[in-house]
Symmetry: C2
C-alpha cells in the first residue's frame, strides 16, 4: 500500500483499518478530494471509499448527485456510527447532493418483531428528529418508507435474478432467504434515486455495511441496459468501545454509550474507560499519556471537540503529561454533557416540524 | 398405499402418478368428496390433493373459502395444463368459492424479459380473455397485478425470514436468489386472500407446482400468530406428449399442442400421434387397440369429450377393435376443431368485456 490512512492523532487500532482497506480493495480516503471537509473527514475517522473521484467531480462541477442512507427504526436509540453517517450526509447535502432517507420499516418489522405501524411511529417520533438534531436539513431531504415503495420491491425482484447463491455467499459469508431478501431490497434502495434520473450517488456507511455496496455494484454491472452509475461508498471507522476493543457494542453496556443516554450513566462510563494515563502521577508527568490506547481522547477526537486547534492543544497537553487522565476525562464529561443536552433539545425541537417532511407520494 | 387412483379409462402413465402420491405424501383424490364433479375430476385426471376435506366441508356447508391461481403473461399461448387449472377454478367458483387471479407480471418481467407494461397488456388482451373463454366468470373474480400489490411484497419480505436455505433446497432441489424471491412472493400470493379474512382456500395446480404449496404450508406453520388456514392443493395429471412421454412440452413442438394453435398444424400432430392401433387391420380387429399407450384417446378423455357416455362408447368401440386408430384420430381432429374454434371465438367475445374486471384497488 503506497498511501497511508491520514490520522494525525491516530489510535492504536489503525492497523486493523489498513488491513480492511487491503482486504476489501478500498481506496484510502483523501480529504483533499473534498472542499471544506468535515471533522471526521479531516481526522481520518472517514478512512476509505469507493469511486470517490466521481463524487468529488460532481461536487466541484456542481453536477447532480445524491447521498443516501437508511433508518432502521427498531428502538429509540442510535449509536455513534449513525451519528457519523448523518454528519457525512449533512456534509454532502450542504455541498450540492440531493439527500434521500429511506425508513427500513420492512427490515425492522421482519427482524426486530415490531409492527410496520410501530416502526413508522418510531421513525417519525425519534429517528428523523434525531437526524435533524445532528444537522440534516429535512426540508431538502426526500424520505420514503420501504413498505410503501413498490418500485423498490419490483426492482428488487428483478435484481434477485442477476446474482447467484455463491456470489451472495462470497460477499456475505453465508446466505438464507431472509438475508437475501433484505440485501436485495437494500440494493434497490441504494439505486432508487437513479430509477428516474441517471446520476452518481454516495452511500456513507460504517465499514461493516460494505457488503451491501459491493452487492449493489455487482448488480449494476449485470443490468447494463439500466445505465446506473456504480454507487460510491464512504467508510468511517467504528467508535471504539470504552474498554479498547475496535467497536462499541451494546453487548458490553458499560463500554457503550447510546444516543441519547442518561448523562450520569455516560459520565460513569467515561470515568471508567480505558485510559492512556500512567500508573502514578510521577510516571505520567515524566512519560506523558499513552495516546494510542486512550479511548477517551479517541471519543473526543471523533465526536466531542469540533475545533482542530482545541483538539491539538488537548492532545499535546495530555501527551506531554501536563494534563492527567482524570483531567482529560472531566473535560470529556463536560463536552459530552453539552452534546447530549443539545442532542435531546434538538430532537424535541425537530419533532415540532415533522409535518414538513418530504415523503415520496406513491400512487 | 391402500387406495388407488380412480381412472376407469387409465393410461399407461398411471404408475408414475402412484409414485408421485407416495413420494410427496399426497391424498388420493376422491371425487365423492365433491358434488357434481367436473370432467377431469370424474376421470381421475385430477388425481391427488392436500387437505381436501376442509374444502369439501366448506363447499357442503356453504362456508366462505377461496380458489386462487396465477397468470404468467409471458407469451400469448396457454397449454392444456392451464386449461385444467381454469376448469377447476370454474368448478369451485360455481360451488361457492371466491375466485382470485393474480397476474404474475413481476415473474414474467424478471424471467422472460418482457416489461411490466407488456406483461400487463398480454394479460388483459389474451390471458384473462382466454380464462373467460374456458369458463371463468370474470364478474365474480378478483384480479390483481403482483407489481401493484404492496401487501404481497411486504408479507413476502416477512415470510422470507421464516425459512432456511436448507429447507428451501429440500423443497426445490436447489436455490438461487431469483428463485427464492419468486417462490416467497408466490407464498404471499397464495395467502393473500387470508390477509384480511380468515378462510380456507384451494389452489388447483399441475403436480410440478406442488413445491410452492409445500413451502406455503411450511410458512403457515411458522407464523402461527397470523392464524392462516393451511392452503389445500388440488393436483391434475399432465396432458401427455403426443409421442407418449408424460408431459407435453414445447421442447418437442411436433408432440405439443398450444392454445390457440392453427388447426391444420394441430390435426397434423394428432394424425402423427402415438396410437394404440395395431400394425395391421386384421390384428387390430382381433386384439383391439392397446389403450394404455394411445395418446389420442387420452387427449379426448382429458379435453375433447365432455359426455361420459360418449367417451365410454368410443372407448369400447376402439378397445374392441371395431374402431380403427385412423377413425379415432379423425373423431379427435373434428372435436379439436370445434374446441379450438370455440376457444378463439370465446377469447374475441371476452375481450369486449375486459372493462368489467374487478381489479383490486391499491392505495
Amino acid at each position: 500500500m503506497k498511501q497511508k490512512i491520514i490520522d494525525p492523532w491516530g489510535s492504536g487500532l489503525l492497523e486493523n483499518y489498513e488491513k480492511i482497506i487491503k482486504d476489501f480493495g478500498l481506496e484510502i480516503f483523501d480529504a483533499k478530494l473534498f472542499q471544506n471537509p468535515n471533522r471526521i473527514m479531516r481526522r481520518g475517522v472517514v478512512f476509505a471509499g469507493r469511486d470517490l473521484k466521481i463524487i468529488s467531480d460532481a461536487l466541484r462541477h456542481r453536477k447532480k448527485y445524491y447521498v443516501l442512507s437508511g433508518i432502521m427504526p427498531s428502538n429509540e436509540k442510535i449509536h455513534f456510527g449513525t451519528k457519523m453517517v448523518v454528519e457525512n450526509m449533512k456534509y454532502f447535502q450542504e455541498h450540492g447532493a440531493q439527500a434521500y432517507i429511506l425508513v427500513a420499516d420492512l427490515e425492522a418489522a421482519s427482524t426486530r418483531g415490531v409492527t410496520l405501524e410501530e416502526a413508522r411511529k418510531r421513525a417519525l417520533e425519534f429517528h428523523i428528529p434525531a437526524y435533524v438534531a445532528l444537522g440534516l436539513d429535512i426540508r431538502k431531504t426526500i424520505f420514503y418508507f420501504q413498505s410503501e415503495n413498490k418500485e423498490v420491491m419490483n426492482n428488487a425482484y428483478e435484481f434477485a435474478k442477476k446474482i447467484t447463491l455463491s456470489e451472495f455467499e462470497a460477499i456475505y459469508g453465508n446466505a438464507d432467504p431472509g438475508k437475501i431478501m433484505a440485501a436485495i431490497t437494500q440494493v434497490a434502495d441504494i439505486l432508487y434515486p437513479q430509477f428516474k434520473e441517471r446520476m452518481p450517488g454516495i452511500i456513507p456507511v460504517g465499514i461493516d455495511q460494505d457488503p451491501h455496496i459491493r452487492l449493489t455494484r455487482d448488480v449494476v454491472r449485470r443490468v447494463k441496459d439500466r445505465k446506473f452509475f456504480l454507487p460510491a461508498g464512504l467508510y468511517h471507522k467504528y467508535t471504539p468501545s470504552l474498554d479498547g476493543s475496535i467497536k462499541m457494542s451494546k453487548s458490553k453496556p458499560e463500554s457503550c454509550i447510546e444516543l441519547p443516554e442518561d448523562i450520569k450513566s455516560v459520565k460513569r462510563k467515561i470515568r471508567n474507560a480505558l485510559s492512556g494515563g500512567r500508573d502514578t502521577l510521577e510516571e505520567h508527568r515524566k512519560l506523558g499519556a499513552a495516546m494510542e490506547k486512550d479511548m477517551v481522547f479517541e471519543l473526543m477526537k471523533q465526536h466531542l471537540v469540533e475545533d482542530d486547534n482545541e483538539l491539538n492543544k488537548i492532545y499535546h497537553e495530555y501527551k506531554s503529561g501536563r494534563m492527567t487522565s482524570g483531567e482529560l476525562k472531566e473535560v470529556a464529561c463536560q463536552k459530552m454533557e453539552e452534546f447530549m443536552n443539545n442532542f435531546i433539545n434538538g430532537i424535541e425541537q425537530a419533532r415540532k416540524h415533522i409535518d414538513r417532511l418530504n415523503f415520496v407520494k406513491f400512487k
